[in-house]
Amino acid sequence: MHLFLASATLPDTITFAIAAAICIVGSLGVVVSTHPVHSALMLVMTLFGVAVLFVEENAQFLAAVQVIVYAGAIVVLFLFVIMLLGVDRAESIAADPLRGQRLTALLLGLLVLAEVVLLGRGRWPTGAHSTAGALNQGTKPNVNVLGTSIFTTFLLPFEITSALLVIAIVGAVVLARRPRRPVGGASSPIPSAKGLTGPPEAEGDDTDRGPLQMGVEDLEDSDGLEAGRPGVPATHGQEGSKS
């Protein structure tokens, strides 16, 4: 491992240092934050750091896609779920109920880190050569190079991935769908009786809705919009229904 930055220019070094710091702090933030929303924001920060590093490494397209897909879609999805499900209560991370889990985890994590850093010093040539074409092709922009590669060498994986996306969409819809309930059940004259046997009655009428509506209603079901509020300790309504 080269421990010297001699070969790197100053702006590059500074950029790397800042981005790396963002990444590390962000990663730690994800793990340490008690509040899932904070974790998500820290994750976004990390993602931006990684995007910067991508640009540094001449992967402009990936940097952009990283932001568009990860920050713009995935984490937003996380936030949606967090906010709409009303599960954004702070988690008490003082102690772990699984004995020894935390210590072992820390130990293993550090071991992995140590091993990888060690690996940086070792050599294990596999003899593998470039397979998918050169990355630097004169003045050709990164987007063109990557695009050509994806639509020629990696065409089949690309198509399969698109199929995977469709499957994921269908799967998500099926998962998020609430099974149709007979309307008769919803119009039960005794709400309290229904409350004993099933989920709260507010769910009665929605038969076919997306996660958005559902989420808000869950929030409502859980007896209190307070659930959607940050900073409210986990001591209310649905504590009983947990266990």
């Binding site: 924001l41 940097a63 952009a64 937003v76 936030l79 906010m83 809705r209 958005l212 808000v216």
Partner: protein, 408 residues
């Protein structure tokens, strides 16, 4: 390829020029926001047959400044339930994308300063369009976090609505941009603008066949949450939208961000579809004319936004989602396919066009079916609603797909 400014390496002059460009862009943007607010108020007043701001400065042109100063000195309130960090962070997250997107807009041609070729735009990254898409997808955060961190239900609902809306329309917007990219074979805004130069017929509006332009304008309007797509701040339902709990300077920031976004997006429309700074010029002050053309085109769009705001009623939420998912996305997708096919050969274009016809009818049929089902469900819901507590009725009507009644 790339910014000609950095071709010969970075020296002090280059550095200074870059910094100057940033500062100028920032200042210009802020000032134009100020003017925009004034402009909007004045135009709407005119349309509503009243005078509008006329006290501060000539024609009330300093009214915005006065409002800003007032807001600056107001008490900064923070709700007790608020998530303090995020609450403070959100306005900046809203402002930042608006500012950054403007950096890739070419506001004029190319000038030479101190032997350096300088493009009149803050930056010209090779992946400019991706940058635009990335930032517009990041723009959701400000809204979303602001609403959530307020710790209050109306802002939360407003934020959820807004972000759902933004995410929905982003797809259509992206697809219509792809049509432009397909025509220009480049992601750089400078290249896109250059390719449109010299003739009105080279403008992407015509080269992509108008449809992507229309889709883009509608989608951008929804992204900006300008009327008629400003449901997230429907006063009757949600008080003031996601920034209900904000006050003082933080509120000003949101306000700023909103109008800055409007300006930026108008500029982007002009850049992508209307040739940017392209237009006839004179030898006298050669560098000035493109800038004027650019500003003029942008103002036309700004006026359009104001005009729309003054004249169109707000849409219903289900209509909004319908337009986004069932009209704009399929349409832009189909159009994109057709353009791509024509790019390949004319025969392919015809083939795809023909293929789109049955798909269109299929979509029509599915819409019909879903509408009928929704109507049937509405009846059931009406029955169930009669015995619910008022609060849930409110939310059902705000968030349900089916017509909530009263707004027809």
């Amino acid at each position: 390829m790339g910014d000609p400014l950095f071709i010969h390496g970075v020296d002090l002059a280059v550095f200074v020029i870059a910094v100057v460009k940033v500062v100028v862009a920032f200042v210009v943007l802020l000032v134009s926001v100020m003017l925009m607010i004034w402009f909007e108020r004045k135009v709407i007043s005119d349309m509503q047959n009243r005078i509008g701001p006329n006290r501060a400065g000539p024609f009330g042109i300093l009214q915005t400044l006065a409002d800003g100063i007032k807001l600056f000195f107001k008490e900064d309130l923070m709700p007790t339930n608020a998530d303090r960090v995020v609450f403070k962070l959100a306005p900046y997250l809203a402002l930042l994308p608006a500012l950054l997107i403007f950096t890739i807009v070419p506001v004029g041609g190319v000038v030479t300063i101190a032997h350096h070729t300088v493009e009149l735009q803050v930056a010209d990254p090779a992946i400019g369009i991706l940058f635009l898409l990335a930032l517009s997808s990041v723009a959701v955060y400000g809204t979303m976090l602001a609403g959530w961190s307020s710790g209050s239900k109306y802002p939360l609902l407003g934020a959820v609505r807004a972000s759902a809306q933004m995410i929905s329309y982003e797809a259509a917007m992206g697809l219509s941009i792809v049509a432009v990219v397909l025509e220009s074979h480049s992601l750089s805004t400078r290249t896109i603008v250059d390719l449109q130069a010299s003739s009105v017929l080279h403008w992407n509006v015509f080269r992509t066949g108008v449809i992507p332009f229309l889709i883009f304008v509608v989608a951008v309007t929804a992204e900006l949450q300008r009327p008629p797509f400003d449901l997230s701040e429907g006063e009757q339902e949600l008080v003031g939208g996601f920034h209900t709990e904000y006050s003082s300077l933080r509120f000003a920031l949101f306000f700023l961000a909103e109008f800055m976004n409007t300006i930026t997006m108008s500029a982007i429309i002009v850049t992508l579809f209307l040739g940017g700074p392209d237009g006839p010029g004179f030898h006298f002050l050669r560098w000035l004319w493109p800038i004027l053309w650019f500003a003029g085109k942008t103002v036309v769009f700004l006026y359009g936004y104001v005009w729309v705001r003054a004249s169109l009623p707000r849409m219903r939420y289900d209509q909004l989602m319908d337009i986004g998912w069932k009209l704009l996305i399929p349409l832009s997708l189909a159009w994109l396919l057709i353009i791509a096919a024509i790019e390949q050969s004319r025969l392919w274009g015809v083939a795809i066009l023909v293929a789109c016809v049955p798909i269109y009818f299929l979509l029509q049929r599915s819409r019909q079916v879903s509408r009928r089902r929704a109507e049937m469900q509405a009846v059931e819901t009406e029955r169930a609603r009669s015995r619910k507590d008022p609060r849930s009725v409110l939310f059902d009507s705000l968030l349900a797909d089916e017509p909530a009644g009263g707004e027809h």
